[in-house]
């Protein structure tokens, strides 16, 4: 009895393995690749929600080319290996297109997989400049790249009369990339980077680093990584008596940063992709999102939503679900305007305009600077 049970269980598991990922005859299948587990799960799920919301709205409006959109999520867990598995899973499931991409590190190796399968891919959040080189022509970035962010950042530091800059990143691909670009640009402009530092992810005490930075007396500190550790750094910088300018990159654009850092965060600048709060066109999306998911949309929700809408738009313009046609249509996008603004692409498949905004923390809230 036990034996036969065992065999049934084994054969069942094996059969299950094969069924897993097999093509199911369905409508228009669109893949979502975001981290739904792991350290960046919050942001990933938020993007997944926004994409699903867009798909729902499209379906309510009659779908794409008469077909209903059916989304399928591949979890990259913000990890290159898992990302590869997720991408292969989506490609195996024969998705017509993929929207997503949050962690640059995890997105990077998947570009080859989508490229080989020639799957159209709209990258909504990941913006390491490394992605540009690895792009095989089928991927389009609708968020501005690191270059644009650096330009925005450097402009602010100049305007505030800073000469000596301290740059701190977190030892991952995304924040190191941003930090490096900033250092290059800042020194190229004849200014000085007095400190270029790394914080190890997950460490709470940065007091030693703070002392070191303070001793170099910078006019501005630029934190290029994520909000959680950024909040701790800001708090400890202020606690140690550092009074000059602090700015943080788009990874730190979260109300959580202000909540954790408390009053220490007052006056901190943040460079950000357009998020729902500062987009007049996003009012309706904001309300719908809150109604559907009973929570506030996070930083990349608007762009993820736009990504799905853009994909549907491109498929409509292509007039078929042929992948090459969709990719061509994406490249030819000129008249699409999402809630984050108009979209068109450079010859490197990146967003033609910079959509970075500068925010400042005021009374425990992010507000548009100026």
């Amino acid at each position: 009895m036990r034996k036969s049970l065992m065999l049934t269980a084994i054969s069942g598991a094996v059969a299950g393995m094969f069924l897993f990922g097999q093509v199911m005859a369905a409508d228009l299948k669109i893949g979502i690749m975001v981290p739904t587990t792991g350290s960046e799960a919050t942001s990933g799920k938020d993007m997944e929600n926004a994409i699903k919301l867009a798909a729902m709205e499209i379906n309510e409006g009659g779908g794409v080319l008469g077909m209903k959109i059916d989304t399928m999520t591949g979890d990259d867990a913000c990890d290159p290996q898992q990302g590869t598995a997720a991408a292969t899973k989506l490609v195996s499931a024969d998705v017509a297109a993929v929207v997503g991409g949050y962690c640059s590190g995890a997105t990077l190796p998947t570009l080859k997989i989508y490229g080989d399968a020639n799957v159209p891919f709209v990258i909504a959040a990941a913006n390491s400049t490394k992605l540009i080189d690895a792009n095989m022509g089928n991927a389009y970035q609708i968020n501005s790249t690191g270059f644009d962010q650096v330009a925005t950042a450097v402009a602010l530091f100049e305007k505030k009369g800073a000469k000596k800059l301290a740059v701190v990143h977190q030892g991952d691909g995304y924040s190191e990339d941003l930090a490096k670009l900033t250092r290059e640009k800042w020194t190229a402009m004849g200014n000085e980077v007095v400190a270029y530092e790394v914080v190890n992810k997950g460490e709470q005490d940065h007091s030693a680093l703070v002392t070191r930075i303070k001793s170099k007396a910078p006019d501005a500190v630029f934190w290029t990584a994520y909000y959680a550790d950024g909040a701790l750094l800001i708090k400890q910088l202020r606690q140690a008596g550092y009074r000059n300018l602090i700015a943080v990159g788009d990874g730190s654009n979260s109300p959580k940063l202000l909540e954790i850092a408390g009053k220490a965060a007052e006056g901190v600048y943040c460079f950000s992709n357009p998020t729902v709060d500062y987009l007049p066109a996003a009012k309706e999306f904001h309300a719908n999102y809150k109604k559907t998911f009973n929570q506030e949309p996070d930083a990349y929700a608007a762009l993820a939503y736009d990504g799905m809408k853009l994909m549907a738009d491109a498929i409509n313009r292509a007039g078929s679900t042929d992948k090459a046609a969709i990719i061509k249509a994406l490249g030819e996008t000129t008249s699409f305007t999402g809630i984050a603004g108009p979209v068109s692409f450079t010859d490197k498949n990146t967003l033609a305009r910079s959509n970075f905004v500068t925010l400042i923390a005021k009374d425990g809230k992010w507000a548009l600077s100026e």
Binding site: G171, E197, G202, A208, T211, L232
Partner: protein
């Protein structure tokens, strides 16, 4: 800032960081001393301590505020709760494994660690929680070195807890029983010592010390996260080994030393902060190669 000021400030930084390491390292070393188990879940209990403290504080703060009194009350409650959790873990997961191969126990400990951190992740959705308290930035300036009152209280509390533990282990019957069990469990059984109860007590004290460090860290740094136990678990493990694993004063010394190493490590000329961990792990390895039992660990002479 002059170089002297910088070094003095780093000394203060290192001592503060080191007292956290020491508190967590103590639990590692106590558990190792008594049942020779590297309790990988120890860092996660620190994390759980912070979360449970956060829960208590959010319940208590409307009544007694979220300043010192509130933090102290929730700290005591959290220490008790997490201490009991530690005992529970020992009973469920470690007790049945004592006769199994050593590596299996280690894996069990890893599994417990994963269960704890992932359970908290599932509950909090992987979010960072802001541990908002009403602690100010006021402090004293010693020359150019600035130390906040909060920092002083933290170091004081850590020192108090450690002194208490030292006295407990060396001046009470329970402490004597603990030390005896560490030497020979079977002999203790024959002498009528209730071995399982003492092991449970050891787990209780060790984990509640980790919990106390967790809630202090939460209140001091201002945020808590399911992943926060990992790094400190690793560092505390290192500290315990530096001091000589199994030795209680060794864990305190190792913790402080590691804290100082790390803060002075950032000041080494020509070496950026990105090499900080290479520096502290390098020191650790050199120390172990030349003094394998740690600073205060005893060399055991094996009888043949």
């Amino acid at each position: 800032m002059s170089i002297q000021d910088i070094l003095l400030q780093q000394l203060a930084n290192g001592l503060i960081l080191g007292s956290f390491y020491a508190l967590v390292a103590l639990g590692y070393t106590m558990v190792y001393g008594i049942i020779k188990l590297l309790n990988f879940a120890h860092g996660d209990l620190y994390m759980i301590g912070a979360f449970i403290g956060f829960l208590f504080l959010s319940v208590l703060s409307p009544l007694i505020g979220d300043s010192w009194v509130g933090i102290l009350c929730s700290m005591v409650l959290s220490m008790i709760a997490v201490g009991l959790l530690g005992v529970l873990i020992q009973r469920i997961a470690y007790q049945p494994m004592l006769s199994a191969p050593r590596l299996s126990i280690l894996i069990t400990a890893l599994a417990v660690s994963m269960i704890l951190s992932n359970a908290v992740m599932a509950f909090t959705d992987g979010e960072y929680l802001a541990f908002s308290t009403d602690l100010g930035y006021e402090g004293l300036e010693f020359g150019n070195v600035f130390v906040t009152y909060t920092q002083m209280v933290l170091v004081g509390a850590a020192a108090l807890l450690m002194t208490g533990l030292y006295l407990f282990v060396h001046r009470t019957m329970y402490g004597k029983a603990m030390r005896a069990i560490a030497i020979d469990q079977d002999a203790c059984r024959l002498m009528g010592i209730h071995v399982n109860r003492i092991i449970a007590l050891t787990f209780f004290i060790g984990t509640s010390l980790a919990a106390s460090a967790g809630i202090m860290a939460g209140a001091y740094y201002g945020s808590i996260h399911f992943f926060m136990g990992f790094v400190i678990g690793l560092k505390a493990f290192t500290a315990a080994v530096i001091g000589g694993i199994g030795s209680i004063p060794g864990a305190m010394l190792g913790g402080l030393l590691l804290g100082l190493l790390e803060s002075f490590g950032t000041q080494i000329p020509f070496i950026g902060t990105e090499w900080k961990d290479v520096f502290s792990f390098g020191i650790l390895i050199l120390l172990l190669v030349f003094k394998p039992t740690g600073i205060l660990g005893r060399t055991e002479i094996e009888r043949m």
